[in-house]
Amino acid sequence: MVDITLKINGATRTGSPEARKTLADFLRDDLDLTGTHVGCEHGVCGACTVIVDGRAVRSCLMLAVQAAGSEVTTIEGLAPDGGMGTLQQAMWDSHSFQCGFCTPGFVMQATAFLSDHPDADEQQVREALSGNICRCTGYQSIVDGVLLAAERNRQR
């Protein structure tokens, strides 16, 4: 067991995970933040994507102990009090999702992408999201949600 302290969604949290426990499992099991989903455990599907120190990462490919001292944002922390930010609202308006299992990963990946590329075009959005797998939607509605969010961000 390794004692760690880190910031999750703005709050300081501590834990004592085994070194082998992934960040994904630590978030879900130890901190009860089950919004981050596990879809493949080998870094391909992107469902586990969270933001660590400003970068989107696959939490199944990080050990929890590696996040010590870091700032982590999960889907639960994007907007205060269970509300919705611009991207989430735009995705709601765009009917972006169906079963919802891939959703947190897409939302986190798109959040990180838009903050670095606020004026991305459709092809760039598709490439940025090509590391997240959705089985339900065929992606168009997700891409539309991201583009709508970018548009609304520009208008503000």
Binding site: H37, H95, F97, I133, C134, R135, T137, G138, Q140
Partner: protein
């Protein structure tokens, strides 16, 4: 078409009530649930495709700290009742079934076959425990090829069957097959293969089983397409009374046909929870999902087509072999639906069909979105192949063969009436949306520059639910029930056995009920996912739009009548003079009279009334599908094939579809696009691959490739004006259509792109290496 009461919601892309929780990480999937004292299970799985199990030594595993229990096949067999696969039982299967146990006992029959289950304090420890279980196997020759399975000399997987033939669907003939073929100008022979691929929902299978020994009640938190079917399957297999099993499901991360009934692993977990005396959770990982959850579509077809020189497809004679894997279930049942659907919307005069199921050392064949889809693949490929031989264009040959809409409707030679079918209109619409002559010019210019573009079309119909049949709806796919209740707080509650896993029922059904009853959308709540609370139902077969949409509509109407009868007493008016709009009940012409539905409900619940007043504001509604109807359409794809690398890009994709009246266009379009993505994935990327020795080669997402946002283009969807058949319910199912018709659409386009090379395609899976092989083979005149 008859208008629904207020029609504020039905037909509009109302935002989903599911989304706030989905978008904020507040969904509750099985793996999110934690129960006090919960343990975790992991399975020891066979690395062999076919072997006798000589011994299973669990002593080291049991001794590992953190491991609570280890159960073998024999341990669980002692506490379960043998029986067939749940879906087979549900569909009324009567044939001989292979006998098998939850965990392998004497034999393993595919790589991944579960042999023992380790229950521990965490999944990490359970997997550690699995590594310590020592199993001695005695290798047996694997049966990996369906053709070998059909050979009586192949080693039988099941002793009680004696051979590897799952079920013979004996030959049926429709129309005069002999005369049609004898009189045809041409008879063409084809062999067409569809490859093995699979559902791959983003959430795997899983459950938490919690047995309360004091009450004798087993509660299972599940991911399932029907809580009741799961309940019955679990009860049957565990020898518990069905009333003592409760299945609860929350959010489900997709299924596409996979999560129906209860898998062997889920049953093993339920049994383990009884033995362990604590709740046990098992959620499969991706490795398990790809290797062991089940696979689909591996069918091969010998097809004879009777054709006129002008391009009439007069008759088809089809022999199918289905590779059902080990532990056959759905696979052996698919032939009957395929046979019925093969004629499609065309004027086929004769059909002969027979099928055999082959048992092989592979994961079981399971239902996958449109399980009968290969009938469309075969038919739409054959039409293109014939068209090429005759020099006809693909739209032309289909227009020639499509049955026009007549009154009385044309009959499919397999017996169902093509009532209300708009296939002809869908072909014409696609031809309008896609400028074929302009494409042909662009194609020619591109070829001159060494670029290969192609265009393909395909048409289909789907019995979603299909036209009203004289016998009415039957079996578990039949009558739909719903309980509707006006709750004390004014909420109109719909209790349905539907189990949404992406279908957005909590939104769509509320739209219908809100319109019909007269309350705002937010005042309707759709309750799903608890077998103690909801009536029987199953989400599948693209039935919910009609069946559940219909029962919601009629049920809301019935509830409204009951509520108005009650309100009439409160308001001292005649029920006929009362209206409900926007959540208020009022006397026609007297807006001052308005009473909130909420207040009426509260009074019904809290006040006393005389025996002549029915204050129980609840109805049990059923719906038989009304006039039903077909869904269908025509799809068109434009592709570019890089002939140096074999890489295919889908440049444009157009769907002209008819799924009746739309409840929620955005939901409909999402379903269509998702199905098309799976079809594109099947053709270009996805294959469940077995080696000659039965080893499984696509057990991770590195090898089983899923389509991504760079593989699926924008999909243009045109909704056709539908032919209403029913006075009220003209919603039809749309869930499976995209996946049924996209594969032939894309393959037809690829063959068109490669036509300068003389390529003909008789298979569905076309990865880059295969494309180059086809070009090389055609070049060398094979």
């Amino acid at each position: 078409m008859a208008a629904i009461a207020a029609e504020r919601y039905t037909g509009a892309s109302i935002k989903r009530s599911e989304d706030p929780r989905i978008l904020t990480g507040a969904g509750r999937y099985v793996d999110d649930i934690k129960l006090p004292g919960m343990l975790h299970a992991a399975f020891v799985r066979s690395p062999m495709a076919h072997a006798r199990v000589l011994s299973v030594d669990v002593s080291a595993a049991r001794a590992l700290p953190g491991v609570t229990a280890v159960f073998t096949g024999a341990d669980l067999e002692a506490m379960t009742v043998p029986g067939p696969d749940a879906l087979m039982a549900l569909m009324g299967w009567a044939g001989p079934t292979p006998e098998f146990t939850l965990l392998a006992t004497d034999k393993v029959r595919f790589v991944g076959d579960p042999v023992a289950v380790v229950v521990a304090e965490s999944r990490y420890l359970a997997e550690d425990g699995c590594e310590l279980v020592e199993v001695e196997y005695d290798d047996l020759p694997p049966v990996v090829d369906a053709a070998f399975a059909l050979d009586p000399g192949s080693p039988p997987l099941f002793a009680n069957l004696g051979d590897n033939i799952a079920r013979t669907h004996s030959r049926n003939e429709f129309g005069d097959v002999w005369r049609t073929f004898a009189g045809a100008d041409r008879v063409a022979d084809f062999h067409i293969d569809v490859h093995r691929h699979q559902n791959v929902p983003m959430e795997g299978r899983g459950c938490i089983a919690s047995y309360d020994a004091d009450l004798g009640v087993l509660t299972v938190y599940a991911a399932t397409q029907s809580v009741h079917v799961s309940r019955i399957a679990i009860a049957m297999r565990l020898g518990i009374e069905a009333e003592k099993v409760r299945v609860v499901a929350g959010d489900i991360g997709g299924s596409f046909g996979l999560k129906i009934g209860a898998s062997r692993e889920e049953l093993a977990v339920a049994a383990a929870s009884r033995l362990a005396g604590r709740p046990v959770k098992w959620v499969e990982d991706r490795n398990e999902n790809l290797t062991a959850s089940g696979q689909a579509r591996e069918e091969s077809f010998d097809v004879r087509a009777a054709v006129s020189n002008d391009g009439d497809l007069l008759g088809l004679d089809v022999k199918m072999v289905v590779d059902t894997g080990a532990y056959p279930g759905m696979g052996a049942m698919v032939p009957a639906i395929m046979e019925a659907m093969l004629p499609g919307p065309y004027k086929l005069a004769a059909l002969g069909f027979e099928s055999t199921g082959a048992i092989t050392n592979k994961a079981s064949y399971v239902a996958y979105r449109g399980p009968w889809a290969s009938e469309t693949f075969v038919r739409e490929r054959v039409l293109d192949l014939i068209a090429k031989d005759l020099g006809l264009d693909p739209v032309e040959i289909r227009l020639r063969n499509v049955a026009p809409r007549t009154d009385p409707p044309a009959m499919m030679v397999t017996g169902r009436p093509l009532v209300g079918v708009t296939s002809k209109e869908s072909l014409e619409r696609v031809a309008q949306l896609v400028d074929f002559p302009a494409f042909r010019r662009r194609q020619a210019e591109a070829r001159a520059q060494g670029r290969y573009l192609g265009i393909g079309v395909a048409s289909f119909i789907e019995a979603a639910p299909g036209p009203r049949s004289p016998e009415g709806p039957s079996g578990p796919m039949g009558m739909e029930s719903m309980r509707l209740r006006l709750e004390e707080d004014g909420i109109v509650a719909l209790f349905t056995g539907q189990m949404p896993h992406g279908q957005s029922h909590q939104t769509t059904l509320a739209q219908i009920a809100a319109d019909e009853f007269g309350v705002p959308f937010e005042q309707v709540r759709v309750i799903v996912g608890d077998s103690a609370v909801v009536p029987f139902g199953l989400t599948g077969g693209s039935r919910s739009a009609t069946m559940t949409g219909g029962v919601a509509l009629h049920g809301a109407r019935q509830l409204k009548a009951k509520v108005l009868d009650f309100a009439a007493h409160l308001m001292e008016a005649s029920a006929q003079d009362l209206l409900i709009t926007d959540g208020n009940i009022w006397v026609r012409g007297d807006p001052e009279s308005a009473l909130a539905v909420r207040d009426v409900a509260r009074r019904a619940a809290s006040e006393q009334f005389g025996a002549d007043v029915d204050a129980k504001l609840e109805v049990e509604a059923t719906f038989d599908g009304g006039e039903g109807g077909w869904s269908g359409g025509t799809h068109c794809a434009i592709v570019e094939v890089d002939v140096e690398t074999g890489i295919v890009q889908v440049e444009r994709y157009v769907a002209a579809e008819d799924c009746g009246a739309l409840i929620n266009p955005a939901v409909v379009e999402g379903q269509i696009r998702g199905g098309i993505a799976q079809g594109i994935g099947a053709v270009l990327l996805e294959r469940s691959a077995y080696g000659d020795d039965g080893s499984f080669q696509s057990a991770t997402f590195m090898d089983y490739l899923m389509p991504t946002a760079c593989d699926v283009p924008r999909i243009e969807i045109e909704h056709l004006e539908t032919v209403p058949l029913d006075a009220d319910v003209n919603f039809r199912g749309v869930g499976e259509g995209g996946m049924i018709v996209a594969p032939p659409t894309v393959v037809n386009a690829i063959e068109d792109a490669l036509s300068p090379f003389g390529v003909r395609i008789y298979e569905q899976h076309l990865p880059p290496a295969r494309i180059l092989q086809l070009i090389a083979a055609a070049d060398s005149g094979q």
